[in-house]
Amino acid sequence: MIEAQPEAPASFGERLYRWLDARFGVGKLVEFARHKEVPVGGHSMVWYYLGGTTLFFFTVQLVSGVLLLMYYQPGEATSYESIRYVTAKVPFGWLIRSIHCWSAHLMILSLVVHMFSTMILKAYRKPRELTWLTGFLLFAIALGFGFSGYLLPWNELSFFATAVGTDSVKSVPVIGQWLLEVMRGGPDVTINTLYRFFALHIVILPLLIVGILSGHLIFIQVQGMAHGMAHQRPDRPGLRFFPDFLLRDLLLWLMCLIVLAVLVYLLPYGPGIPGMEWELGKKANPLAPAYPGIKPEWYFLWVYQLLKEFPPHLLGMEGPQAALLVVTVLMGIWALVPWLDRRASRGQPSPMFTDLAIAAIIFMSYLTLKAWDIGGHGVPGKLPDPRSTAWACAWITLGLASVIAVLRLLAYRQRWMYFSGAALLQVVLNGILGMDYLIAGGIALVVAIGGLVVSRREPAPQMGVPR
């Protein structure tokens, strides 16, 4: 006779799980997680990790930001002083500030690469339009975080950069001046501006980002990660999210943390590139003459350069107004890409939008390089020469674009290059042949439209051909 074995008592963990399951139904969530998979094949897995790294840097921002907040005191007599105190006296204060600054830039970098990879891989296509849109909003909020946080140390560089940055708001038609005063808390950048930016940085933007980020993450969980396009390599069985993908994600985060630690130690005030430096320097003095060579953060540099390229007046508008209009239109197109790209939404190859992303890279790279005055510092002590700058930047951009084009041709057999060709034409006309930037842009626009018309007449690419 076999005696019934007494049942082993449940462990504490099992009992807790049962307790929670009885009340909140966590079993369904666990079941969901158990079957969650990340697509394999189609394209490189690397692109699936970029959202995670952005989230990682955002978490670092949250933690380091809260730690900084424990010492930061906004005010005319305290903002600069409290940051000085943090970096000079508070144990590991220098570390926290440097991490906060470095991580901010790495977060934006990761976000930009994530956004471009999503664009090129068409991961925005139906049914993920809202994931793209929320991602775009997150990008805008991240830029807002960068802009509002920049002023908080109340030092010379941040003061004048904010004065120049907010000044461009004046170009908004009709409400420009009003908007400027709302942003600054008056006609000029004063301590009232800092109070507004502080509220924006630590309350308003975090509230917004929590809401939108939750939406972005929920959409991804509900819809899963986007598979490769049907015409690309056939999918293989997916990779289990728990624990396979998550472990890889965590490993990458750990490596990001190591990179962050090394950067913070070696370059505590940033790499020293204009728009990527945060040495405290002197306290802001609104009565002092403007800080020479003021440039915004690197991710705003292309807009800054575009404003410089425009003449004082254009087509009955003020130059900055026209430049702002161009930026708004471009951003609008970018945000609405999932609805504009009909082919991708039908699951068909959509080389035009791949090329649009490459054209955007060429367009922004050239402007950013020019804003850095690369190649323009021929004579020490003199202002950089715009002609030499344009020449050098054009050749660099040409080199970069050639590498991308060869890679696309050989590795991906992509041939639709009207947009990127037009963007490169503008670079060559302006930088190498010395033509006016806007005239070169006009010619490039005509070429791009011509290419669009010609490609419409061509037969649609066949499935199975990687485009």
């Binding site: 970096t87 000079a88 220098w94 472990l247 190591i258």
Partner: protein, 524 residues
């Protein structure tokens, strides 16, 4: 609310409103706007009308009366006067002064009597520059032509009393001895001057009489000697605070140099010892530490000619007083020198104190290497001649030199160290502050060279050495902190790398397990 609104409207309307100025011009003035030049174009236009409308009504009336009285001779005359764009108060002075009005009318005046805004264009003398005249300190205080020339601003013809106060024209242009007394009629009268500028001294004439210029002009009747107008000008006199003034501190070297740097003008003038008066002072001063500070850096505290020589009482400082002149700014150095061994030696030789080592107009920024017992060194050259075979002095000079050079070198070594540590994110501010203390101590130590005594010198040098020791300790502490950070980073990276390797192994193990399971599912 309905009750309040009318009440507010009533309150808003309460009180007589000031009469609005319609900007209307008197008819005679309006008529000038119809005058045309030879080419048939209107002479007066919108700019003149806009300016006139901004003037108070009574000033417009005043100009209208001038037009009626023909003291404003026509549109061209009025245009020249309005082009000055005077503030309304000064415009009132100008248009109520017949002397100015007649002497600015190109239609009625000869070129030699015509004031104009551009004397070159009208071929009149530069001293008749109307723009300078209307910015003259006297004009701006309401003291116009008649104040010096006599007559009355209300006169509309030349009267006998005009220029009667002065010597006749043939005398006054060659004999300038009358000028100081003439200006002193007002400037030496405290009661009169109190009405204009109570703080302005009234002793200029008495000082001038004692000055070298005064002695030459008033006693030796040398009309080449400088008097009031030589430095202050005639029409267009400005106070010394005005940047455009010829007696502004930065303009004084050139003003004095107009005569003193002109070898032809100064030919024949001699020093007390009979040697010709040099004319290289201005060139030397411009190269000197004082000249560079005043003229290049714009440091108005730096001395100009008058700081050492005086202005109205200008006289070359004598050997006995030259060191006192330097002491007005460099008092500490003077005090140290007074207590030094050199004081008696210098007195015995009748040497000017400061000038002996530093020079006078060409004073250079003193270098520490000047202190040297070598034959060609500052100390050595003098001692070789006057106090040779004095090993203690030589040792002291060497000690001063080496100590100062050591302190300076320490500062030069520490500053880049502080900058490098700052760039690595360490708090370099205390180090920089300590280096500033060192620099202050070096200044003190250099001043104490004038004690010519080791004990006195060391009081400054010790401060410097203490600052060096403090800075070095701070640099060392910062380097320790840097090492601590580096070690912390290495330990953290080590731990994180271990964790990463463990995770990598786990990922591989899971991968293998999945592959095995997959193979088992597929079967042999």
């Amino acid at each position: 609310m309905t009750v309040l609104l009318p009440l507010l409207l009533v309150l808003n309307q309460a009180g007589p409103a000031p009469a609005a100025d319609d900007g209307k011009l008197p008819p005679s003035l309006e008529a000038l706007f119809q005058e045309k030049d030879k080419e048939g174009k209107l002479i007066l236009g919108d700019p003149e009308r806009t300016y006139l409308k901004k003037l108070p009504p009574h000033t417009r009336e005043l100009i209208g009366k001038d037009v009626d009285a023909l003291t404003v001779g026509g549109a061209r005359h009025l245009k020249a006067l309005l082009a000055l764009e005077l503030p309304s108060q000064n415009a009132a002075i100008l248009f109520s002064d017949n002397c100015i009005l007649c002497h600015t009318d190109p239609e009625s005046q000869k070129k030699i009597h015509l004031f104009s805004a551009d004397p070159k264009a009208t071929q009149s003398s530069e001293i008749l520059n109307l723009k300078s005249f209307v910015s003259d300190v006297h004009f701006r205080r309401g003291l116009s032509c008649s104040g010096c020339h006599g007559g009355s601003p209300a006169n509309d013809v030349m009267t006998a009393d005009i220029a009667a106060r002065w010597p006749k024209a043939d005398v006054r242009h060659t004999d300038r001895t009358w000028i100081p007394e003439f200006c002193a009629r007002c400037h030496a009268d405290p009661a009169f001057m109190r009405g204009f500028n109570p703080s302005l001294p009234t002793d200029q004439l008495s000082k001038y009489r004692e000055s070298q210029h005064g002695i030459l002009l008033l006693q030796q009747k040398d009309s080449k000697a400088a008097q009031c107008v030589s430095c202050h000008g005639v029409h267009g006199i400005r106070g010394p605070k005005s940047r455009q003034s010829s007696v502004h501190p930065q303009a004084i070297p050139e003003t004095c140099g107009r005569c003193h740097a002109d070898p032809k003008y100064m030919a024949g003038y001699k020093k007390d010892d009979g040697t010709p008066l040099p004319t290289d002072q201005l060139a030397s001063f411009k190269k000197s530490v004082h000249g560079k500070a005043l003229l290049e850096k714009g440091d108005l505290g730096a001395p100009a000619c008058n700081s050492c020589h005086g202005n109205h009482a200008a006289m070359p400082p004598k050997v006995s007083s030259i060191s006192q002149v330097c002491r007005t700014c460099h008092s500490q150095n003077g005090t140290f020198f007074d207590g030094s061994k050199h004081k008696q030696a210098f007195e015995a030789h009748h040497w000017p104190e400061c000038e002996k080592c530093h020079g006078k107009h060409e004073i250079m920024k003193p270098a520490d290497t000047l202190i040297s017992d070598a034959r060609d060194g500052l100390c050595g050259s003098c001692h070789a001649e006057n106090a040779k075979d004095n090993p203690e002095c030589n040792a002291t000079a060497r000690y001063f030199r080496s100590s100062l050079l050591e302190l300076v070198a320490s500062g030069q070594k520490l500053r880049p160290q502080a900058e490098a540590l700052g760039e690595r994110g360490l708090d370099a501010e205390p180090i920089v502050a300590s280096i500033e203390e060192l620099n202050e101590a070096i200044v003190q130590t250099r001043a104490r060279v004038h004690t010519f005594d080791r004990g006195g010198f060391d009081q400054g040098a010790k401060l410097g050495r203490d600052a060096v020791a403090k800075s070095e300790a701070l640099v060392q502490a910062a380097r320790n902190e840097q090492r601590y950070r580096r070690n912390g980073l290495l330990v953290s990276i080590g731990l994180m790398s271990l964790l990463a390797v463990a995770m990598g192994l786990k990922i591989r193990e899971i991968g293998r397990r999945r592959a095995r399971a997959s193979q088992e599912r597929q079967g042999p």
